[in-house]
């Protein structure tokens, strides 16, 4: 089976390169599911997991997995920003443009505009669409589903991934150039998954993400014959009012020994801020409230005002700073 190509581009020196994708299942139907990763070239968890999922689906398609069968057509793009993956760059390396600020794109425009238009073109016919991200190189995110002003179907389907956190946010007008925003114009059900830390691979998060996508394939009726494990964590939905952003009141070196996805009690130690020169502890950082550690700073160089952690709470304990970060597109 030849590899389908989303787009072929020619580099200035004349070499051509392609953005390939996978296309499994009944070719005569529109895709039921489109999975996209690597819009940011250094977000490697999604790239790796989609490539592994492609191998899993290929083996089902080839009849190598007894009792399992593809019921629907599935399209996967493991890496949109192919040059970025090869150079570990978040943005399109040539002109430093963020592909996820380039939608809906233009098939006759600049390179990033053409790529965006091609991604929309191939994913638009799908009913379910998932864009996989990993925050950035500073903040580690627990594997989570993100919904932006979801409809009831999206809210219901978000639990099919079986991830312990579903985070809901209002649509921010400055997100209009994101892939998700473009998808929303075309109906269907649209999700963002956040998972881990950019610039690196976290195998434990990759396993969680892989299981989540397989669970979705089973529960959304895309693949027959999958037996899911029964040991899933309890699932919670968290709105903006159930999210507490913990911001640094001073600069220094921030170190945390916690793991994302753990529950903490009010007052539990989150980490320390050290003086980078003297080595003295400048501050202990404690959880202001009980909750799930959804995000944690891993890039230790801390400026005053930097986010250190996000705690997802079962009560309406959300703070003003979380709303400010959201309004600024973070």
């Amino acid at each position: 089976m030849s590899t389908p190509i989303l787009l072929t581009l020619t580099a200035p020196l004349g070499d051509s390169f392609t953005i390939p994708y996978h296309d499994f299942g009944p070719a005569e139907r529109p895709p039921r599911l489109a999975l996209v990763a690597g819009l940011h070239g250094n977000e490697l968890n999604g790239v790796f997991v989609l490539s592994r999922l492609a191998d899993f689906l290929r083996r089902i398609h080839a009849g190598e997995r007894r009792g399992q069968a593809l019921r629907e057509r599935i399209v996967l793009i493991p890496a949109v920003n192919v040059l970025g993956v090869n150079t570990c760059s978040r943005v399109w390396p040539f002109d430093k443009i963020d592909l996820n600020r380039s939608f809906p794109g233009d098939s006759a425009g600049e390179t990033t505009q053409r790529i965006a238009a091609a991604v929309v073109n191939i994913t638009r016919p799908a009913y379910y669409r998932v864009d996989i991200h990993t925050s950035n190189t500073d903040i580690e995110e627990m594997p989570q589903v993100r919904l932006y002003e979801p409809n009831d179907d999206e809210r219901a389907s978000a639990c099919l991934f079986g991830l312990p956190a579903v985070i809901e946010r209002p649509v921010n007008p400055i997100f209009t150039t994101h892939l998700l925003h473009t998808w929303r114009q075309y109906g269907g059900e649209n999700f963002v998954i956040q998972c881990g830390l950019a610039g690196n691979l976290q195998t434990a998060h990759c396993e969680v993400l892989f299981r989540a996508l397989v669970a979705f394939l089973d529960r959304a009726g895309l693949v027959d014959g999958i037996a899911l494990p029964e040991d899933e964590e309890h699932l919670h939905y968290f709105g903006l009012n159930q999210s507490v952003a913990l911001m640094a009141e001073q600069s220094g070196i921030f170190v945390s020994r916690l793991e994302v996805g753990r529950w903490v009690q009010a007052g539990d130690l989150i980490g320390h801020i050290y003086d980078g020169f003297s080595g003295e502890i400048r501050a202990e950082v404690h959880a202001p409230t009980a909750g799930l550690v959804g995000s944690l700073r891993r890039q230790p160089l801390l400026f005053e005002g930097d986010p250190m952690a996000r705690i997802l709470t079962l009560t309406d304990a959300g703070n003003q700073m979380e709303r400010i970060l959201h309004s600024q597109g973070q």
């Binding site: 580099a11 200035p12 390179t111 007008p173 400026f303 005002g305 973070q330």
Partner: protein
């Protein structure tokens, strides 16, 4: 006339040092306050030089006719000092565009703190000129881009700035996070002026802008009405966004521009350059103007991908 250097924001870096954002203030009488901001992108230096040239002029005025400064001039040449010090367009570490961080917040991360401090400092200004250079691939002639909804107020100001071009356009929603939008939205006239290129200086254009800015300041009553100024000689062409004709590369390769001057008039079909292959003598494509008009943008970085912007022409198809 009183001159002083002021710190808007000072913040400790993770390892010992401190980042400070500063402005120069030239204070004369109780007349209007005006400001020029620049250096939001750490690789754009045109505005730093413009601020220097304005400072030279003001300091000469302080020697010759100090009482002719009726108001107050504030220069903010380097709003992204860490980016300027390290030759990075964005705010280092955050990797975010400072001019996508407005209105900001005084307790947020660094980009938002700078944004909030700048907006607080500019409160009450009668005119703020936000100077930016073009991006790293292009060169531009001095031009203002005005959001249509603010045009009624801004256009009469922009027309006195000795520019070559004024373009009226609808703002994308992402532009709502810019400094100039925040200023205009709260009622302080902010003019976005683009000129030159990244990582260099276009001195002739700077002198053109100095003449225009001084003329406008005199008109606003910041400078005495009888003060002789360098002559403002340009009549800006006023266009709407749909009268701007982009010219995109048909093929990838090396763009070999003809010796056409940015700011000159071109004919429809006129040869502006070739796209060639570095491996052989072949020309891959001829680049011809899609319209007759003013050449306002010309690609300055020669390597191009198919679709790359090579030029923009303001005029009629």
């Amino acid at each position: 006339m009183e001159k002083r250097l002021e710190t808007l924001l000072s913040l400790a870096l993770p390892y010992r040092e401190t980042v400070t954002v500063r402005r120069s203030i030239y204070r004369g009488g109780a007349g209007p306050r005006v400001a020029v901001t620049a250096g939001m992108q750490g690789n754009e230096l045109e505005g730093l030089y413009l601020c220097h040239r304005l400072a030279v002029w003001l300091e000469q005025l302080a020697q010759t006719r100090p009482e002719a400064l009726l108001g107050q001039v504030e220069l903010y040449p380097a709003l992204n000092p860490v980016g300027l010090d390290t030759l990075q367009r964005t705010l280092p570490v955050y990797d975010s565009e400072l001019d996508r961080s407005f209105p900001g917040h005084s307790e947020g991360p660094l980009p938002q703190r700078i944004a909030a401090a700048v907006l607080a400092s500019l409160q009450g200004a009668a005119l703020v000129i936000v100077l930016q250079a073009s991006d790293m691939h292009l060169q531009e002639i001095p031009q203002a881009r005005l959001e249509s909804r603010f045009a009624e107020r801004l256009l009469p100001l922009a027309q006195q700035l000795d520019l070559d071009l004024i373009c009226l356009q609808e703002a994308a929603t992402v532009a709502e996070t810019t400094l100039v939008h925040s200023l205009n939205a709260r009622g302080e006239p902010g003019l976005l002026v683009t000129t030159g290129t990244s990582m260099g200086l276009s001195k002739r254009h700077t002198e053109q802008l100095v003449a225009g800015i001084l003329t406008l300041w005199r008109e606003l009553g910041v400078l005495a009405s009888d003060l002789p100024l360098p002559a403002a000689r340009h009549r800006p062409l006023l266009v709407e966004a749909n009268q701007m004709y982009p010219l995109n590369a048909e093929v990838s390769g090396l763009f070999d521009a003809q010796p056409v001057a940015c700011g000159g008039l071109v004919k429809a079909g006129e040869l502006l350059g070739l796209i060639v292959s570095p491996f052989e003598g072949r020309t891959l494509a001829e680049v011809r103007s899609p319209a007759a008009g003013l050449l306002v943008t010309l690609r300055h970085y020669p390597l191009v991908y198919e679709g790359a912007l090579l030029a923009r022409i303001a005029g009629s198809a």
